[in-house]
Each structure stands twice: as structure tokens, then as C-alpha cells.
Symmetry: C2
Subunit: 215 residues, 2 copies
């Protein structure tokens, strides 16, 4: 049971504010129990509002769920988009992207859970919402990788960079799970870990070669 935020039901707030409260509550509850086990009653209670308002403002349960996914996906993608400035070196861009990713997750644990765990598990109408943002993130990285290899002996084609980028995103998602169980680590420490793994590879790390940010 997600805690009711005991406020004495502030009255007659404008729609925009209510919609934010509802989305916040819904994200909490969906993250805690999953889509099906979450009840509209609980969401309305946590939001400090009655059920019909839920339906009036954000529609049926599945529409509400989609709205949650969308909001979180947009937040994340925009955060990454602004952090990865054009003109930087590929390594630097990747490093910044990773860092802001871990920072987002840290400040938005429930949102991340909905995005990552729930959207994935609930099958078609929803998982494609997720796929969309994941593809954008993957494309971003794949392009970055392609650009990094441009001048080299063996430039990578999309058929190479795409699975590589996918695996990288997956590694990031898994590291986040691990992080939840080891919260003593800082966000940029986590980003460093992943950066080293991906950029240097294990055999380099064994030999003592590692990647470090310039700044």
C-alpha cells in the first residue's frame, strides 16, 4: 500500500494541478504493484481525490497508464538530449549521456520502474510506448558509435552499432537494478563503471587501462 499523503484534501484546485497530482500518484502506485494489481481506488486515494475525477481528467485505466509512460519517457529523453551537446567528442558525449541517465533514475525511481519494468511487461499497447523511447535512445547511441568509427580502419555499419547500442542500454538498465540494492554509490560513479566497461572492455581493464573523464 502506497502511503496516503494525509493532507486534508485541498479543495477546488485547477485542473492542471490535479492532473499533475494524479500522474504523480499513478506513477507511485503502478511502480509499487504493477499495472493490473494497481487499483484505480488506490490511485485516487493517494492522489487525494475521488475516483470520478480520475476518469474525468485522465480517462480509463489504460489511458492513465499510457500517460504515465509518456510523461516519464519525455522527461528522460529530454534530459539526455540537453546533456549530449553536439560538437563534443563521442566518448565525451557518451559519458555525459550516461551520467544524466543515472541522475534521472536517482531522482525518479518510481518513474523509472514504471518505464522499465511495467511498460515492458504489460504487452502490446504499452510495450510499444516503451519501445519508441528505447529506439530513440538506441539510435542516438548507435549514431554516436558510427561517428566514432568513421575515420578508423573498420567503420561500423548500422547492423553492427545497433545491437551494440541495445546491449549498452540493457547493461545500463541492469546496473540500475544493482544500484537500487547498493545505493551508497554516487550517480557519476555508476556512469563511470558503465563507461569503462563499454569503452575499454574487460581485457583492457585487466591490463590496467581504464577510461577517465577529462573534466
Amino acid at each position: 500500500m502506497v502511503q496516503d499523503n494525509g493532507r486534508p484534501r485541498s479543495r477546488r484546485l485547477p485542473r492542471a494541478v490535479r492532473e499533475r497530482q494524479i500522474l504523480d500518484a499513478a506513477v507511485q502506485v503502478f511502480a509499487a504493484h504493477g499495472f493490473h494489481a494497481a487499483s484505480m481506488d488506490e490511485i485516487s486515494e493517494v492522489a487525494g481525490i475521488s475516483k470520478p475525477m480520475l476518469y474525468a481528467y485522465l480517462g480509463a485505466k489504460d489511458e492513465l497508464f499510457v500517460a504515465c509512460i509518456r510523461r516519464e519517457a519525455v522527461r528522460l529523453i529530454e534530459a539526455i538530449g540537453t546533456a549530449v551537446e553536439a560538437g563534443l567528442s563521442p566518448a565525451e558525449q557518451l559519458w555525459r549521456g550516461l551520467r544524466v541517465f543515472f541522475e534521472y533514475v536517482q531522482e525518479n525511481q518510481a518513474g523509472w520502474t514504471v518505464l522499465h519494468r511495467q511498460a515492458n511487461a504489460q504487452g502490446e499497447p504499452f510495450s510499444s510506448e516503451l519501445t519508441e523511447w528505447r529506439d530513440r535512445a538506441t539510435d542516438l547511441i548507435a549514431e554516436l558509435l558510427a561517428r566514432a568509427t568513421e575515420g578508423s580502419a573498420q567503420p561500423m555499419q548500422a547492423e553492427q552499432t545497433e545491437p551494440f547500442a541495445t546491449a549498452l542500454v540493457g547493461a545500463g538498465e541492469a546496473l540500475v537494478e544493482w544500484w537500487f540494492e547498493h545505493p551508497e554509490h554516487a550517480a557519476d560513479g555508476m556512469a563511470m563503471r558503465l563507461m569503462n566497461m563499454v569503452w575499454m572492455g574487460f581485457s583492457d581493464l585487466v591490463e590496467g587501462r581504464s577510461w577517465t573523464p577529462k573534466s
Copy 2:
């Protein structure tokens, strides 16, 4: 809707056989709809059996779900366990482990979906089932990594190898998702991809250094 396997309800089969049929059906249905959206009615129908038999043999819905997770987890862990023979070099062990992992997934898509997507999403009693096997896989790899660095300049401690192994497992899981959408690739090709990413790292790949199996 998962297809009913139209056989005319073979009668009076021994319990062990029915239990296998039930588990097979349950895995299919859970993979298709997720835990909550899957109905016991549909499972019984797909299994070619009536609902009370389900309850008599494998208990309530959550017990059945746990039974599915357990069976799939055991299958996978045993497959990997036999493939990774002691005495081989760490790189070779990792390579074999990865290959057998992708082979398992290929022949057992629904089982993998239940394990990976569903168990993860359904919160506590279930996700810890998953965590257990994942930890075993991660420990296996972490140990392998530790052994690989034993003699080197900077031997890795558990605090290093554990997140690395976690990320590796996550990368594998993500690559499987990608594979589902690009089924034209072979299992050992996928294993190679991951092996190269993890063992060599991106900067090596750019320079044209890559890992290849000896056999």
C-alpha cells in the same frame, strides 16, 4: 488468445504427465498475457484439462506461477552449468556460457519471457524467485572475472566484478530482446557479439582488435 491444441482431451493420464502439460500451458499463457491478465480458465483450456485439476495438481494461481518460474530457471541454470566446464580459460568459459544461454532462449522463447519479463514485473513474492537465479548467474560470472584478473597488475575485487557481471547479464537480456526482432541471426553469432563487446570494449573494436573463438 493462446491456441488450444485441439486434441480431443486425452483421458486418464498419469499425474506426472498432466503436470508437465499444465506447466507448458501456463508458461505459454503467462508469457502471452502476463501474470494478472492470464486467466486460470485459459490455462486449463490450453492444457486440455478442467480447472479443478489445475488446482488439485499445482495449487493456486500464484503457486502455479512460481512453479513456472522455478522450472525455467532450473533449466537455464543447469544448461549453463554443464556448458561451463572447469579447467577452461576464463575467456573460453564465458564464451561457452554465453552461447548456451542464447541457445536456451532460442528454443524456449516463452519460458524466457516468463522468467525475464513477468517475474520481474510482478513484485515481491515473485521477483525474488528471479533474483535468486540471476544472482547465481552473476556470481558465476563474477568469480570467472575475478579468476581472470588474479595474476594481473590490478586484481579485481568483488565490489568491482559484481556490478560488471550484473551489467553483462543485463546486456545479454537486452540483446535477446533485439534478437527477437532480428531472428535471422544465429545463436552463436549473438554470443560472439556480446563476447566482443564485453571482452574487447569499444575502443578496441574501433581499432580492429576483436575476439574470436579458438574452436
